[in-house]
């Protein structure tokens, strides 16, 4: 990463996209102190990450790993999801409620007593997500949450993101699923070669096909369709597309 400056406000929903090796994961690992900048600084609220331990930063920023196998280490789903809140020093009854709620949200209440490694990769990914949701941090970072999920799983992750947004949480998500990105994130940061290439409202960022291509990203399906139809509009979801199309064809 080189010369990166970025400010994310509380309650913002930000997607980070860009080519493999662009530095997306490297960037977010600075948010919870897993990495420290060689030069420059990273602040989480009024904390300089250089002055805080990863354990302290975990109170403010939850991080769900890209590969759940890097994160999961307990012998039951229950223990896995309780581990984080317990470490934050939550009272026992709250740990119980939070962890049950988190498993319900990721649709894994049925798997509470299972060993994480008896679950499918997609399900393990949702265990990793629940383990961080249970910690109830003000900011949450999801590293490619839709990988390995079927379309129902992707829709579920979308609902979880919407739920976090409505609770006023800061949601930062790395993703290659640009359609998912368009539907759930108001702001998009595009990275290429360790730098920020674009940063702005998703409607303006996701329409810039030429710049996106420099980071191996294409506009969402519906944005490409609207462009081919020469519609003067950037639709971010199906309903927006249809309404704009009906209007343009009525004209």
């Amino acid at each position: 990463m080189q010369g990166v400056s970025l400010a994310i406000q509380p309650g913002e929903a930000v997607a980070i996209i860009g080519q493999n090796g662009a530095g997306k994961t490297t960037l977010v690992k600075h948010f919870n102190g897993l990495l420290q900048p060689t030069s420059g600084s990273v602040w989480v609220g009024d904390w300089d990450t250089r002055d805080k331990s990863v354990a302290q930063l975990a109170r403010r920023v939850g991080y769900v790993f890209q590969n759940p196998d890097d994160q999961l280490f307990q012998s039951s789903v229950r223990a896995e999801v309780k581990f984080g809140p317990k470490n934050l020093g939550m009272p026992g009854d709250q740990i119980e409620t939070r962890s049950q709620e988190a498993l319900r949200i990721v649709d894994l209440a049925w798997a509470t007593d299972r060993h994480p490694y008896d679950l499918s990769p997609g399900e393990r990914k949702r265990v990793a997500l629940a383990a961080v949701l249970a910690m109830d941090t003000p900011a949450i970072v999801l590293d490619e949450p839709t990988t390995g999920q079927d379309h129902v799983g992707v829709a579920l992750v979308g609902e979880i993101v919407e739920g976090l947004k409505s609770q006023g949480k800061t949601v930062i998500t790395i993703t290659h699923d640009i359609d998912f990105c368009a539907e759930h994130f108001e702001r998009v940061v595009v990275m290429a070669a360790g730098q920020i290439l674009l940063d702005g409202e998703s409607r303006s960022v996701l329409a810039q096909a030429d710049l996106l291509a420099r980071s191996f990203v294409e506009p969402p399906q519906l944005v490409r369709l609207a462009k081919r139809l020469e519609m003067d509009f950037v639709p971010l979801d199906i309903v927006e597309f249809i309404e704009a199309w009906l209007k343009s064809s009525a004209r």
Partner: protein
């Protein structure tokens, strides 16, 4: 050719079968995509074709799998791997962990096959070019990003030039244009190299553009089999959680409002959507 005849398979200690009475013929050179919800049996089908079932996963297997008229259960795995290459869902499981550069990692399979040194070098270089990782040649395979590692895993299998290539979500961690490029490279292999391809994928847009045929699995059974435009727009398959492209969703919504041309099937690709929406 791959021929699967009435296969039912249950993993050891599993309460119910992962595949139920599956029969399938895939002609040589066909690019066949397999879609379906998590737990539908897609990876199990991949393991079955690659011979990991029954050679590695024991369990209970009924029916037979033939690769070019040879029953996979009768061919030792070390011979089978020369015919069928399997690319795992998680590239971490593919990378040997014993090599210090991408170049050596890709050569690893060829060393085991006893490929002569000069040919090995040529194959390693051309495969790296094909999947566009030449610039990673001297990097440590385990120090790469998820997507870069996935390309190395693909290259390590392609270099062995298997007749049958089975890929389990090979683009899951790739950037969008990188995913399309992998699809395109695989398509070329099947068109020009006559490699038979079975590719498990959730990226339906590229499945629809590149695959010759789409097989939909649900609950261990085949519930759809045909051209992408038929299978991926099938109303009856909506409840089977196969998924749809945004083009199909938009076309379906337009049809509900009486605005999709009645003569046209619903769209699955961008070009088809443009055709339906242009007037």
């Amino acid at each position: 050719m791959i021929k699967i005849e009435q296969v039912t398979y249950r993993y050891p200690a599993a309460p119910s079968p992962a595949l139920r009475d599956v029969s399938l013929e895939i002609p040589a050179g066909q690019f066949c995509a397999v879609v379906g919800e998590n737990g539908a049996g897609k990876s199990t089908l991949a393991y079955l074709i690659a011979g990991f079932i029954p050679h590695f996963y024991h369990g209970t297997l009924a029916g037979s799998v033939l690769i070019d008229d040879q029953e996979t259960s009768q061919v030792p795995l070390n011979q089978l791997v020369q015919q069928v290459g399997l690319i795992f869902q998680n590239p971490f499981n593919q990378i040997s962990g014993t090599k210090f550069s991408v170049r050596e990692e890709i050569a690893f399979g060829l060393e085991n096959l006893g490929v002569p040194r000069e040919e090995m070098e040529e194959r390693v270089l051309s495969t790296m070019e094909r999947v566009e990782i030449t610039d990673l040649a001297d990097r440590h395979p385990l120090a790469l990003s998820g997507g870069q590692m996935q390309r190395v895993a693909i290259a390590s299998v392609l270099a062995m030039r298997p007749k049958v290539l089975v890929l389990d979500e090979p683009t899951s961690q790739l950037d969008p244009i990188g995913s399309r490029e992998v699809f395109s490279a695989i398509k070329t292999l099947s068109d020009v190299g006559e490699t038979t391809v079975v590719m498990i994928e959730h990226k339906l847009e590229w499945v629809a553009v590149f695959a010759d045929r789409v097989i939909a699995l649900s609950g261990g059974s085949i519930v759809g089999d045909g051209l992408a435009r038929d299978v991926l727009t099938d109303e009856r398959l909506l409840e089977k959680r196969i998924g749809q492209t945004r083009y199909t969703q938009a076309a379906r919504l337009a049809r509900q409002r009486g605005k999709w041309p009645s003569a046209l099937p619903l769209a699955v690709t961008l070009d088809q959507a443009v055709e339906g929406f242009k007037d």
